[in-house]
């Protein structure tokens, strides 16, 4: 039966080749969109690691940039002044009764600002994302400590900077060994510069700075002290406010901070609002591409139905002959659908081979194997459903012909 169908398909290879090519390209388009969708859904279902409710971010702007080409001699004095002003601002924020706790951090969740590092460890390249934050970051963001402890004043006297890493990074870097008390970056970074030791004091469950739709990456939170000159470059305060605080508190906070630092600028935004705009920016292109792809597939479905319909009309004689020789309506039905399935299978075989190459050749990275496999399965099944649905009406049309009608054609 299958061999017979293959031969039938081969006999009409000219027309079938083009249809097969169309199904092949449709599969690639569908796979790309499905993979994106599955990736986002999978990410959304994973824990975020922090809570954004009632957390506000105050962006500090208008300070001299690092590396703006001005004389570097000023830098130390400028930085010392900036650092003491940062401490003054934190104290000012602490005076508000609506504020539960205040931390300084850079970068903060749901912003475009990102920091990452990579280094060689035992011949392997380790990449991680990072941020620096003051001690109260734990309370403000509601992080969950799974092992060890959060950093604090006890780390003042110890060498290097104390850090907390995520479970994912602990697994990636230390495997089954205990990460506590170890140094994260041992020797030098990718450009050969020595890295001051980053001492792991604790492990948190997860931290996904880019939010729900972004993939999980290893993350490090290093301890920052506003007493250190380096910490003067931190660009944000994060404050946890009591529920119900609104624009009125924002206005008072901005005005108060402005009076302490008249030549800086302050922007108060809730993380919830930043989250909405960040996620909106992430989803809008996916929705646009998804809509276009859906219409493309509808177009392909209509086109395929038309082509199959036409081919059934043209093959009236052949079908009539089969009916006259005793083939049942069901038999014809199966034959037409079988031919469609042969073409679809050919296209999908080719498509799957191509799609599987992409991660093998590292052309696509960042999609985990389960996400990739699930997307592949969903796309294959959808294409089968689509083509069989397209073949259904034309094949019914073919079976409706009685042998006499069909042979009468000429």
């Amino acid at each position: 039966m299958i061999r017979h169908l293959l031969r039938l398909a081969w006999n009409r290879k000219g027309a079938n080749l083009l249809v097969t090519a169309e199904i092949f390209v449709s599969f690639l388009v569908l796979f790309a969109v499905v993979a994106l969708g599955v990736y986002y859904v999978d990410n959304y279902s994973q824990p975020l690691g922090f809570s954004y409710q009632n957390v506000w971010r105050i962006a500090i702007e208008g300070r001299p940039l690092r590396g703006d080409g001005r004389a570097s001699g000023d830098d130390d004095a400028v930085r010392a002044a900036a650092g003491s002003r940062m401490r003054e601002l934190v104290a000012t924020l602490g005076e508000f009764s609506e504020i539960v706790s205040v931390a300084a951090a850079d970068p903060v969740p749901y912003t475009d600002s990102r920091r990452s590092s990579s280094y060689e460890r035992q011949g392997r390249n380790v990449r991680y994302r990072e941020l620096e934050a003051t001690d109260s970051f734990l309370d403000v963001m509601g992080l969950t400590i799974t092992r060890g402890r959060w950093f604090g004043r006890e780390d003042d006297a110890l060498p290097g900077s104390a850090a907390v890493i995520t479970e994912r990074l602990a697994r990636e870097v230390f495997g089954d060994a205990d990460p506590l008390g170890q140094n994260l970056a041992e020797e030098t970074d990718s450009e050969g510069r020595p890295i001051p030791p980053i001492r792991v004091v604790g492990v948190i469950s997860e931290f996904r700075q880019d939010g729900e739709y972004a993939g999980s990456e290893g993350f490090v939170v290093t301890r920052a002290r506003l007493e250190d000159p380096e910490a003067s470059g931190i660009g944000n305060f994060l404050v946890k406010v009591r529920p119900g605080a609104g624009a009125d508190l924002e206005a008072r906070m901005a005005a108060r901070l402005q009076s302490v630092a008249p030549d800086w600028s302050f922007k108060v935004e809730s993380l919830a609002a930043l989250r909405d705009s960040q996620n909106g920016l992430r989803l809008a292109p996916v929705l646009a591409v998804g809509t276009i792809a859906a219409f493309l597939l509808l177009m392909v479905a209509l086109g395929l139905t038309g082509v199959l319909w036409q081919s059934v009309t043209q093959r009236t004689k052949e079908i009539g002959l089969r009916r006259a020789k005793g083939a049942s309506a069901r038999g014809i039905h199966v034959q037409i659908l079988g031919e469609v399935l042969v073409m679809t299978t050919m296209a999908l075989l080719l498509g799957v081979i191509v799609v599987v190459q992409l991660p093998l050749l590292s052309l696509v990275t960042g999609l985990s194997a389960p996400v990739y496999a699930a997307s592949l399965a969903i796309s294959v099944v959808s294409i089968y459903v689509l083509t069989v649905a397209c073949g259904y009406y034309p094949s019914r049309l073919a079976t409706r012909l009685t042998p006499a009608e069909a042979l009468h054609y000429e």
């Binding site: 009409r12 000219g14 027309a15 083009l18 249809v19 090519a21 169309e22 390209v25 449709s26 388009v29 702007e61 208008g62 001299p64 940039l65 590396g67 703006d68 080409g69 001005r70 004389a71 570097s72 450009e191 510069r193 624009a247 009125d248 924002e250 206005a251 901005a254 005005a255 402005q258 008249p262 030549d263 800086w264 600028s265 302050f266 922007k267 108060v268 935004e269 809008a284 276009i292 219409f295 493309l296 177009m299 392909v300 209509l302 086109g303 395929l304 139905t305 038309g306 082509v307 036409q310 081919s311 009309t313 043209q314 093959r315 000429e410």
Partner: protein, 413 residues
């Protein structure tokens, strides 16, 4: 002859309406997406007020400052343009402006986000804003660091309702300004002029900007005419080699005055420190994307066309038997197909106005004014014709190869 082709094409269109509808759906949808894309690109790049002198404006947006291991990339600093970009021969006017940044105000306890931009008086002479009331701030205002501001229509409504705003006080980013003028809204995607509130460069909270080589500014250079572009670029490049670096970590700056399109191309391809402009790269990318997008619709239409041609085998057989050459038949079919795609293109053009209106209404892009114009119509026609030829060539070739004897017999392969 073309006339009879056209008449035939119309006849064929109406012969099997279901197939025509299926073809037109595919063509219409494809061209709809392309027309909307062209309209968005037109919105971003085409000259329109206030950028009426766009054809002779050069911009320096991002610069690269390097030295040893240090690399700093971003907008230029005020000092760089103020010290080294003034008085270039062939440049009529130079304006230095910051990029817009978001700032909050709290009029009457509400929170209002505005995009704020600091600039100079020449900004208003290079760009032609449409003033609803008042006037731009002057050279004297900038020199005296007067706290004055030009605001857009939306900001006036947010702060003052429907009343006139000139002379009134507005607080943005913790600073007070007196409104000097009100302009019509400029779309956010017009990156060069866009802002909600424009204030003098000198009204900055601190004067740290005065000594920055890398900072938050762009420069607009209004050339006398297009032919002086390359001389201006050469002069600018040579001036960049004479920059003095107070910070010893840096010793080189790469910055090129170029058209807006070229600078977008530069950002898109991330060509760090490339002293040449490559606007062609972005064009090539856009064309490639359009062709890639057309791949599936083309295959779809080719398949439909091939099966519809076979239906017309007897007609082709007769024409061949009476001496029509293959070339004639190919020409005839391509004309038919182009007619079909042009009809689809017209439908798409009509439908795209609804899509664009919906996009404007959705507020996805602040102050977006996506709209159709004759330029987009011409692009749409070209795209439809290209699509028609692409999807017509193979079926036409198949048709012309039909064996007349078999075709007359009604053979289908």
């Amino acid at each position: 002859m073309l006339q009879s082709y056209l008449r035939l094409a119309i006849k064929v269109l109406f012969r099997r309406k279901v197939f025509t509808a299926i073809s037109l759906f595919g063509i219409g949808f494809t061209l709809l997406v392309l027309t909307v894309a062209v309209a968005v690109l037109d919105h971003v790049f085409a000259p329109r007020p206030p950028e009426v002198r766009q054809d002779r404006t050069l911009l320096v947006v991002f610069i690269d400052m390097t030295g040893g291991r240090s690399h700093s990339r971003g907008p230029g600093g005020y000092a760089l343009f103020d010290r080294y970009a003034r008085g270039i021969p062939g440049v009529e006017r130079l304006s230095i402006a910051t990029l817009p940044w978001g700032a909050y105000s709290y009029p009457g306890g509400r929170r209002v986000k505005s995009y704020l931009r600091r600039t100079d008086a020449d900004f208003w002479r290079i760009l032609s804003f449409d003033f609803l009331e008042g006037a731009p701030f002057s050279d004297q205002d900038v020199e005296a660091a007067s706290p004055v501001a030009v605001i857009n229509e939306t900001t006036r409504r947010r702060f003052f309702g429907d009343e006139n705003a000139v002379g009134r006080d507005i607080e943005v980013d913790g600073q007070h300004f007196r409104v000097a003028g009100v302009v019509r809204d400029v779309p956010m995607l017009r990156i060069v002029p866009f802002a909600d509130v424009w204030v003098p460069m000198t009204a900055a909270k601190s004067d740290a900007y005065r000594s920055q080589l890398r900072g938050e500014c762009i420069a607009l250079l209004l050339a006398r005419d297009r032919s002086s572009f390359s001389a201006i670029q050469d002069e600018f490049r040579s001036r960049m080699t004479r920059v003095e670096f107070p910070d010893s970590r840096f010793d080189k700056i790469v910055a090129v005055p170029e058209t807006f399109f070229a600078s977008v191309s530069r950002e898109f391809f991330g060509s760090r420190g490339d002293p040449e402009s490559h606007p062609g790269r972005l064009t090539a990318l856009l064309v490639t994307l359009a062709l890639l997008f057309m791949l599936l619709p083309t295959l779809n239409l080719v398949n439909l066309n091939v099966s519809r041609i076979l239906e017309r085998a007897p007609e082709i057989g007769v024409r061949k038997a009476f001496g029509a050459s293959s070339l004639t038949l190919v020409g005839q079919f391509i004309v038919e197909n182009v007619v079909l795609t042009l009809v689809g293109g017209l439908l798409a053009f009509g439908a795209s106005s609804f899509v664009l209106r919906a996009l404007n209404a959705s507020g996805l892009v602040p102050y977006a004014q996506f709209q159709l114009n004759p330029r987009i119509f011409v692009y749409g026609l070209v795209l439809a014709a290209v699509f028609g030829v692409l999807s017509g060539v193979y079926p036409a070739w198949r048709m012309s190869r039909l064996n007349p004897v078999q075709a007359l017999k009604g053979a289908t392969r």
